[in-house]
């Protein structure tokens, strides 16, 4: 039982970070139909920025996180403006390819600047932990759950109660009608990229926490969060959060319970197995809706 609870805690923590990354995918996809394959590179860049600010520059950690989120927000909006706005009208596929290329370039750039070795994150939690019964609760994982929950709550409040959140939802439903109603749709798209940058940075922060550390392979986590998005339904924010948590728990549980004949790294495949299983039953994801075709 205690092993189960231990794995559940760790799964929830991992799932919370996946939820942030998955939300980053959804916020862009919903507004423009683009799957941002640079999401992994963005969370990598965010984590390295935090590490650089906190460790090398000596900025207080909380401030470093906020600054990195703002920087990645600016990066996302800037990337949209420079690289994507020019290809408006091209098939979505073209935009997706651009995000793949940008992801590779950013990842290579981070490696070139910071080297391939692991870095210190500079966080105040380190490996410190406390125990509840026989369960070990690391502060960084607990913080990950709390901060991710807060981040998700802020995102949903923004989406539901502000005029820019409303503009995002309207753009998702009907871009032409939104434009004719006087909403600057291009600015809405830039905003979704900025939000994805901020969400990716928060996700990167906790993915790089103990026992991990900022390293160039950190961005691969986005590929593991991707099943969460598909599973939740590509255009559903709630689905991204539910899917993210589910995938995190599945991944950690599999690493703990999978029989040895499945191999030692089966946990990395488990999210995809779960995704395929769910898609067989619900082709548009847990909370996705079948897109209506206008005839």
């Amino acid at each position: 039982m205690s092993e189960f609870l231990q794995l559940l805690f760790e799964g929830l923590s991992l799932g919370a970070t996946y939820a942030l990354v998955a939300l980053g995918f959804v916020v862009i996809y919903r507004a423009s139909g683009v799957i941002n394959f640079a999401q992994g590179a963005m969370l990598l860049l965010g984590a390295y920025l935090i590490s650089w600010l906190a460790v090398d520059v000596g900025v207080p950690f909380g401030l470093a996180v906020l600054a990195a989120m703002a920087a990645l927000g600016a990066f996302g909006a800037g990337f949209h403006r420079i690289a994507l706005r020019r290809v408006v009208g091209q098939p979505t596929f073209v935009l997706v390819m651009i995000t793949i290329g940008a992801g590779i370039a950013v990842t290579a750039g981070v490696s070139a600047i910071f080297g391939d070795n692991q870095r210190l994150l500079g966080d105040p939690w380190g490996s410190s932990a406390f125990h509840v019964g026989s369960i070990t609760i690391t502060w960084v994982k607990l913080s990950g759950i709390v901060v991710a929950a807060a981040g998700v709550a802020v995102y949903f409040a923004f989406d539901r109660y502000t005029r820019w959140g409303l503009a995002m939802r309207a753009t998702a439903a009907d871009e032409e009608a939104t434009l004719s109603a006087g909403v600057p749709v291009r600015r809405v798209h830039a905003l979704t990229w900025a939000l994805a940058g901020g969400l990716a940075t928060l996700g990167g922060l906790f993915l790089a926490g103990f026992p991990n550390a900022p390293s160039p392979t950190l961005g691969d986590a986005a590929l593991r969060a991707f099943p969460a998005v598909v599973l939740g339904g590509l255009s559903s924010s709630v689905g991204a959060v539910v899917g993210g948590v589910l995938i995190g728990v599945v991944e950690v549980m599999t690493s703990g319970y999978a029989p040895s004949w499945l191999g030692t790294n089966f946990y990395a495949v488990a999210p995809y197995v779960a995704m395929i299983a769910i898609l067989l039953v619900r082709p548009y994801g847990l909370l996705g809706v079948k897109p209506a075709e206008r005839l």
């Binding site: 923004f158 005029r163 820019w164 503009a167 109603a181």
Partner: protein, 258 residues
Amino acid sequence: MSDSLLCVRDLTLRFGAVTAFAGVSFDVAPGELFAVIGPNGAGKSSLFNALSRVYEPCDGTVTFEGRDFLRLAPRQLAGIGIARSFQNLGVFPALTVLENVMVGRHHLMRAGALRGGLGLARGEERRHRVAALEALEYVGIGPMAGAAVQTLPYGLQKRVELARCLAMEPRVMLLDEPVAGMDATERAEIADLVARVHRERELTVLLVEHDMGMVMSVAERILVLDFGVPIAIGTPAAIQRDGRVIRAYLGEELEAVA
């Protein structure tokens, strides 16, 4: 006509070898309810799309208050006071009625995403919510403010769209076949609403419509298109007597019989 609000001259639109409309000229005076009619395929929708900056005309000029209208981007139209409705409904089905209308207030609000996100734009949002509710009351769907638009019947969804147009505080409304796909009762209600908006809000309305009954009951002046060519322009009474219009709608044979 120097006192006209919208001035269209020799407007022509072709798609390759196909001419959607050619040589269309008319003026719309401030506060006028001007309608464009014509049989199916006459080029009404193409003309509407050219005037809402969706299609780029090949030739001709359009001026709005003396400005070159054809150099404006679609996103600038709301800012100069032009609101449009869509033939197949331009509503956001999953959003509530009030949210749909609030989208129309977006361009009148000032707070940026950051201030809004920090909850510092509450006062502004509240003011605009009042204006949006007022627009809903005006079109007669105030009590449905909280309902998801997709749960409403088509006629009421059209009212949501019209309320959003009104909430934009426009000076000109471009309406693309607002009664298409409606039954007789709904058509009469929407026609009433359009006439009331025009009269009470002193709005200029450019109506493109297939339905003769609606146009004859509300329009002050009418332009008739047939196969992309303007064949008549005038008051409803004059249009009803025009031989070319009757031929276009009823065909040549009938006249031969008569």
